[in-house]
């Protein structure tokens, strides 16, 4: 489906994920009024890098998906994300003929980062 449409760059078409910023903190999934964000993660221990230091535990994201069949595009997940990992993208062309096809996984959510405007709008 391709349409020759010019949209303002800050149009709210879809929600994109910058995966490297996500810490799997679960805040977006818990704040989502529609319960449409699914996150799986596991812990990994990194060995100490210096003498006397402790090994560090970090969370590794296994799954990040948004079910756009349920999402009402309220943007609360973007607002509450403490790590700036979620963004509005102007891309809107993501329909499906199958309801399960509206659940988009992190790879697709990541691709939409390409159209996210680079800086926030300056306001007075």
């Amino acid at each position: 489906m391709g349409h020759d449409v010019t949209l303002p760059e800050r149009s709210r078409g879809v929600i994109a994920l910058r995966e490297e910023s996500c810490t799997s903190c679960m805040v977006c999934a818990r704040e989502c009024p529609d319960w449409c964000i699914y996150i799986d993660s596991h812990k990994e221990t990194e060995p100490a890098t210096a003498e006397g230091a402790r090994p560090r535990t970090r969370h590794v994201l296994d799954r990040f998906a948004i079910d756009y069949a349920l999402c009402m595009y309220c943007g609360i997940c973007i607002e509450v994300c403490p790590w700036d990992a979620l963004f509005w993208s102007p891309e809107y062309d993501h329909p499906s003929t199958d309801v399960l096809g509206l659940t988009h996984e992190r790879d697709t959510l990541g691709v939409w980062m390409r159209s996210v405007p680079s800086r926030p709008t300056q306001t007075g």
Binding site: M26, R30, D40, S41
Partner: protein
């Protein structure tokens, strides 16, 4: 007219407590003043609120059910919000259909969604719900089947892929959904 002047005017015409709500006067009316005050705001040339915008309600817990209506003056470009509280059990309010005919659909919807009677309404048949639907979906005690059927995605802890014990906020507690 400034918001402040309109607030005082609405208060003067209705004689009821009027508060500013984001620049719109919100007047709390007694049930027996509901019709007369609405008609007065419509007919007084200073308010001239001839346009009925909408009517709905909200569940205010122990304080009962609040019916809210917004009216507007097309000519003067100002409006007011009317509010009246009714009992949860058998709450009733006179129908506004004699003042603004357009209130009929709004009162039908509010009747089925909250179980509020509108006395004098020509036909309170269900508007959106199917025939024989049991319950009033916009009351807080009405359990959301979709919430009971679906697992909360936020129950997992960071770094876990199985649900923990965390429960969603803002939803009824207890073992049974729909109980508070």
């Amino acid at each position: 007219m400034t918001p402040d002047a309109l607030l005082h005017l609405v208060n003067e015409i209705t004689g009821a407590t009027t508060a500013d709500s984001f620049g719109t006067p919100t007047v709390d009316l007694a049930v027996d003043a509901w019709l007369t005050s609405a008609a007065a705001l419509r007919d007084d040339p200073r308010t001239d609120m001839d346009y009925f915008d909408w009517l709905s309600a909200y569940d205010d817990g122990d304080a009962g059910l609040a019916v809210v209506a917004r009216v507007w003056s097309v000519a003067l470009r100002h409006g007011s919000v009317l509010r009246a509280r009714v009992s949860r059990d058998g709450g009733a309010l006179p129908s506004l259909t004699g003042v603004w005919a357009g209130a009929a659909w709004h009162e039908r919807e509010t009747h089925e969604m909250f179980g509020i009677e509108f006395e004098g309404h020509p036909d309170l048949a269900p508007l959106l719900l199917s025939e024989g639907f049991n319950g009033h979906p916009l009351r807080k005690e009405f359990g959301l089947a979709s919430r009971a059927a679906k697992e909360w995605p936020g129950a997992k802890e960071p770094g876990e892929s199985v649900a923990g014990r965390k429960r969603p906020l803002g939803l009824p507690s207890g073992d049974r959904w729909g109980t508070t």
